[in-house]
Symmetry: C2
Subunit: 74 residues, 2 copies
């Protein structure tokens, strides 16, 4: 799932470390999320969205479950 965390963080002129402190996670967690290593928990997604004053949907892009794709054959 794609996200705009890095973009929004940089808009505020913050580095990963200060942002991590602000949302109370480790800097590695911020790095991992920004680089798509894994998704945040729902709880953390809310915390991030609140921090930026946005909705989760404005920050995290969910891949829609393709009913027309070749996969998903059952």
């Amino acid at each position: 799932m794609e996200n705009r965390v890095e973009e929004l963080r940089k808009n505020l002129g913050m580095n990963q470390e200060d942002f991590a402190k602000a949302i109370r996670v480790s800097r590695q967690t911020v790095s991992s999320i920004e680089n798509g290593k894994y998704n945040p928990s729902l709880e953390l997604a809310f915390t991030i969205a609140d921090f930026f004053g946005k909705t989760i949907e404005e920050i995290f892009m969910h891949e829609r479950r393709g009913r027309n794709e070749k996969e998903l054959s059952d």
Copy 2:
């Protein structure tokens, strides 16, 4: 975190089993989420929201981090 999954599911006249199949998780996962045993992953929260045609924020109620509460003293 509170959620309206059970309410929305019942609005559609579905039982946990059929709902679980529709969103491709086990029935126990549905039960656990409805009863607040744990929160869904962000991915699953999106799947559930999409299924109901709602936003995550309309379904899952995040407890706002109380800046004015007695806790959180740093």
